[in-house]
Amino acid sequence: MAVDTPSQSVAKAAGDHVARGRSRGTGPKRRAPKRSLATHWYAWAMVAPVVIVIAVIIGYPLGRGIYLSLTDANERNVARSIGVNEIPATYEFVGLDNYADAITGSQFLATLGWTVVWTVSCVAITFALGLTLANILNRKIAGRSFYRMMLILPWAVPGFVSVFAWRFLYDERRGMLNQILSGVGLDAVPWLNDPLIAKVSVIAVNVWLGVPFMMVALLGGLQSIPGELYEAAEMDGANAWQRFRHITMPGLRSVSTTVVLLSTIWTFNMFPVIFLLTRGGPGEATQILVTQAYKFSFEISPRDFAQSSTWGVLILVILMIFAAFYRRVLRKQGEVW
C-alpha cells in the first residue's frame, strides 16, 4: 500500500532490527485484551478511517507530487480547459533532471543553507529561553500564575494575527520600533528591507511565537520530576548546578527530545512567518525552502509545478533523513522509541 512505504522505509533506514532494551509491545509477552483475529479485526476497523484519510488525501497526492517532480509540468502544458475546449496535458517525463538541476543549482543550495541556519537558530534560542523560563516558573515565586498567563499569550493568539502585529511594529516609516528609535535620536532601522536585518527579524518573530509552547512543555516535564530526588541530592550536599545537571536534565530528557524533534520539523516548514512577514524578501533573502517552493507554484508565471514538487520532495527527504538520524542517536543513548 502506498501508505506504508514511507514509514516502512524510514523504519528500515533507522536500523529497525537492532535489539532493544524494552520491547514496545511487539513481543509476545504482554497482557492485552483477547488476542484473536476478532481483536485484529476491530483494531483495523478503528484505524481504517485514518488509513483512508492518509491514503486518499496524503498518499495519492504525495505519489502524484513525486510523479510531477519527474516531469516538466508547468502552467502551459498541464491539462486545462479554456472555455469549452479541453486541452490535454502535453508535459513530458524528464526523469531526474529536475533533481539534478536543483542539487547542482545555486538557488537550492543557498536556500537550503539559510533554511538550516533559520531552523537551528530558532530551535536553539527557543529551547534555551523556554528552559530558563520554565525553571524560574517551577519555583515558588509570587504571582506565578499571573506570569505564566502573560508568557503564554503569544501562543494563544492565532499565528497569522501575531505576524501581522509584528509587521506593524517593524514597519519602516511608521512602525513602533522605529518611532522609539527616532524618539531617542537614532536612525530608522530597515527591519524587513535589509537582507541581514530581515533574517534577524524573522528569527526574532519565530522565537517569540515558539517560546510559550517550549516553556509549557518543559514546565510539565519539570513538574513530573519527584521532589524527593532534589531533597536527597541536597542531603548529599549537591549544589544547585549539580542538581540541575544530574536530576533536572535527565528528568527532562524524554520531553526535550520530543519537543526538539517536533519544533525542528515545524520550524523547517514554517510557512506563515516568512510568507506573511517578508514574502521571502528582500530579494530572496529570507526565502526558506517551503516558501520558495510555494512561490514556484503560485506566484511566478508560468507556474512551475515540476520545480515546486521537486523542492517539496527534497524537503521531505531531508526531514526523513534527519528524523532517522535523530532516532538513531536517541537509541544510542538508551531512549526507546
Binding site: D4, P6, S7, V10, G25, T26, P33, H40, Y42, A43, W44, M46, V47, P49, V50, I54, I58, P61, L62, G65, L68, V78, L137, N138, R139, I141, L153, P154, V157, G159, F160, V161, F164, A165, W166, F168, L169, D171, M176, I180, V216, G220, G227, E231, A240, R243, S254, T257, T258, A293, Y294, S297, F298, F305, S309, V313, L316, L319, A323, V336
Partner: protein, 279 residues
C-alpha cells in the same frame, strides 16, 4: 540556576527572578497589547506612539460596515468547525486502537502519523490543488476542510493515544467481562473518560484550521470566499497598509481564540507529552 522549590532565596536573587519574568512578560504581551491599543485610536493616529489618543470604536464600526470581515469570519468558522468534528472522530478511534490493541501494521501506522508531520506544504499543495480543481472544490469550504484533515488528523491521533494510554486497561477489561465488544467498550466506557483529551484534540483541530495560511491563500480567491487568514492580507499589501481596520480585525480574531486557549492549554501539554514518546 535551578534551586528546588524549597529553601530560602536571598532577596537579591528574588529581585533578579522577578525582573527576568517582568521583562519576558512585557516582551510577550507588548505586540498584542499594542495592536489592541492601536485599534482603539482613530486610523489617522495609527502610527503615533501614544498609548491612548481620542479613544474610539470607529475602526470596528468601519471594519464591520465597509469590509467583508463578517463573511470571512463565517467562512473561517465553517471550515474550522467541520474540520474539528470530522477530525476528532477519526483521531479518537485511531488513537484508541493504537493505544489498546496490538495488530499487524500498528508500527507502520505510528510511524506514518509521525512522518506526515514532516510533509511540507510544498510537496502536497500542487497535487492537492490539481485534484481540488478537477473536482471543482477550489473556492469551496469543503476543499479546505479535506485539506486540513491531512494536517490535523495525524497529530490529533497521536495526542489521543497519549490520553488513552493514561486510562487504566482494567476498565476495558471490565467492559469485556460484561460482554461489551471492543467498539462498545470504547464508545461507552473509554470515550466518556477521555473527555479532556477530546476537548484538547477538538481545540487543536480548530486552531489549525482557523490559522492556516498557505492552503487558504492558494485555494481561495475572491473577496467572498476568503478565510480570515486570507482576508487579513488584504489590509496589508505592497501599496501600503490600512492599519486601522487591520488592528481591529486582529483584535476580533484574537480575543475569542485566546480565551478558549487559556482554558484549554493545561490539558494540551499533558496530552502532548503523554502521547509523545512511549509507544
Amino acid at each position: 540556576m535551578n534551586t528546588p522549590v524549597r529553601g530560602r532565596r536571598s532577596p537579591l536573587s528574588s529581585v533578579a527572578l522577578h525582573l527576568t519574568l517582568i521583562v519576558a512578560s512585557v516582551i510577550a504581551v507588548f505586540p498584542v497589547l499594542w495592536v489592541l491599543l492601536t485599534s482603539l485610536k482613530p486610523a489617522k493616529y495609527a502610527s503615533t506612539t501614544d498609548f491612548f489618543k481620542e479613544t474610539t470604536f470607529e475602526n470596528y464600526t468601519n471594519l464591520l460596515r465597509d469590509t467583508p470581515f463578517l463573511t470571512w469570519f463565517g467562512n473561517s468558522l465553517l471550515v474550522a468547525a467541520l474540520t474539528t468534528v470530522v477530525g476528532v472522530f477519526i483521531s479518537a478511534t485511531t488513537g484508541y486502537a493504537v493505544s489498546r490493541f496490538r495488530f499487524p501494521g500498528k508500527r507502520g501506522i505510528m510511524w506514518t502519523l509521525l512522518v506526515t508531520q514532516m510533509f511540507p506544504v510544498a510537496v502536497l499543495i500542487v497535487p492537492i490543488y490539481n485534484i481540488m480543481s478537477s473536482m471543482g472544490l477550489l473556492n469551496e469550504p469543503a476543499g479546505l476542510v479535506i485539506t486540513y484533515l491531512t494536517i490535523a488528523v495525524p497529530f490529533c491521533a497521536w495526542m489521543m493515544k497519549g490520553f488513552f494510554d493514561g486510562i487504566p486497561r482494567e476498565i476495558d477489561e471490565s467492559g469485556y467481562v460484561d460482554g461489551l465488544t471492543p467498539f462498545g467498550t470504547f464508545w461507552r466506557l473509554i470515550l466518556p473518560l477521555a473527555k479532556p483529551g477530546i476537548a484538547v484534540t477538538a481545540f487543536y483541530s480548530f486552531i489549525t484550521a482557523w490559522g492556516e495560511v498557505a492552503y487558504a491563500s492558494a485555494f481561495m480567491v475572491g473577496d467572498e470566499n476568503l478565510t480570515l487568514a486570507g482576508g487579513l492580507q488584504k489590509f496589508v499589501n505592497q501599496y501600503g497598509a490600512q492599519w486601522g481596520p487591520m488592528t481591529a480585525a486582529s483584535v476580533l480574531i484574537a480575543i475569542p481564540a485566546a480565551l478558549v486557549f487559556l482554558f484549554a492549554q493545561r490539558h494540551l501539554v499533558t496530552g502532548m507529552s503523554a502521547g509523545a514518546v512511549k509507544g
